[in-house]
């Protein structure tokens, strides 16, 4: 009698465990790639002046992006895929400015990693949605060309 009761309890526990597992897995799938859906794979950066040329390079010298600066000083670029990038801003008559960006963790992605676990975090990492540019504002050094360099 006691063994039967134990068996029933074990079966009950197992079914509960399975149910919990499926609920968690389902919720995980629901929020998978949450940052990819909510924040998207692209980000707006602010660049001044609007008639400058911005080029973003990877550290191995390849062009990552060369976005067009809009009238409202915004430019849309793909998120940095958790890597630092080199930003070069140039304009005729002015010294070019350089920045190395820091791949800041996207807050939405961080939340998704906690709730959604490995699946969501993996999707966000592969789409690039897991990180964002820091800094995200690039203003040209207004020093005149003649004062700059040799």
């Amino acid at each position: 009698m006691k063994t039967l009761k134990n068996d029933i309890m074990i079966k009950h526990k197992k079914s509960h465990l399975f149910q919990s597992f499926f609920i968690i897995a389902f919720l995980g799938l629901l929020v998978s790639g949450c940052a990819t859906i909510i924040s998207g794979t692209e980000q707006d950066i602010r660049v001044k002046p609007v008639d400058a040329k911005i080029t973003i390079y990877t550290w191995d010298g390849k062009v990552f992006a060369s976005p067009k600066i809009k009238e409202d000083t915004k430019a849309t670029v793909h998120r940095p895929y958790s890597q630092s990038l080199l930003v070069l801003l140039e304009k005729d008559g002015y010294c070019p400015s350089y920045w190395l960006t820091y791949p800041k963790q996207n807050n939405v992605s961080l939340l998704n990693a906690i709730i959604g676990g490995a699946i969501g975090a993996g999707i966000d990492a592969s789409t690039g949605a897991a990180s964002e540019f820091s800094p995200s504002e690039f203003y040209l050094n207004t020093q005149e060309t003649q004062k700059c360099g040799k």
Binding site: Y57, W59, Y98
Partner: protein
């Protein structure tokens, strides 16, 4: 209980191995290639030090924790370069690009800096 202890031990090892990364070797070069000197200023807020040294490009720079590095390059015919970097930037890029490790076990990563040529202005 013992399973939990094993799990905790496993995560502790992973955590500690992550903490042991204290430097990344950054191989600095320019595009187009230049052999001019790069001036490197190493600022440590923790140790309150500010040191500078020069190296001829391409040159390696050991980027250590708690330091900020200011790299300035002056090449004839090109505009000067000034960039700042730290370990977090170098490490994330090294991991992303998967450029391998040195014999000491440090990550290594290239840093190719594009140069902007000065435009020749004709005399009036």
């Amino acid at each position: 209980m013992w399973k939990m202890r094993i799990m905790l031990g496993f995560f502790a090892i992973i955590g500690l191995s992550g903490c042991s990364i204290k430097s990344v070797l950054v191989e600095i070069s320019t595009l187009p290639a230049s052999s001019s000197a790069a001036n490197i200023r190493q600022i440590s807020e923790k140790l309150k030090t500010d040191n500078s040294h020069t190296c001829n490009l391409p040159c390696p720079l050991k980027v250590e924790n708690d330091n900020i590095y200011e790299i300035s390059i002056d090449t004839l015919g090109y505009y000067p370069v000034l960039v700042k970097l730290d370990l977090g930037m170098a490490l994330s890029t090294a991991v992303h690009l998967g450029t391998g490790k040195t014999s000491n076990g440090d990550w290594r990563v290239p840093l190719v800096i594009p140069l902007v040529p000065k435009k020749h202005v004709a005399p009036e």
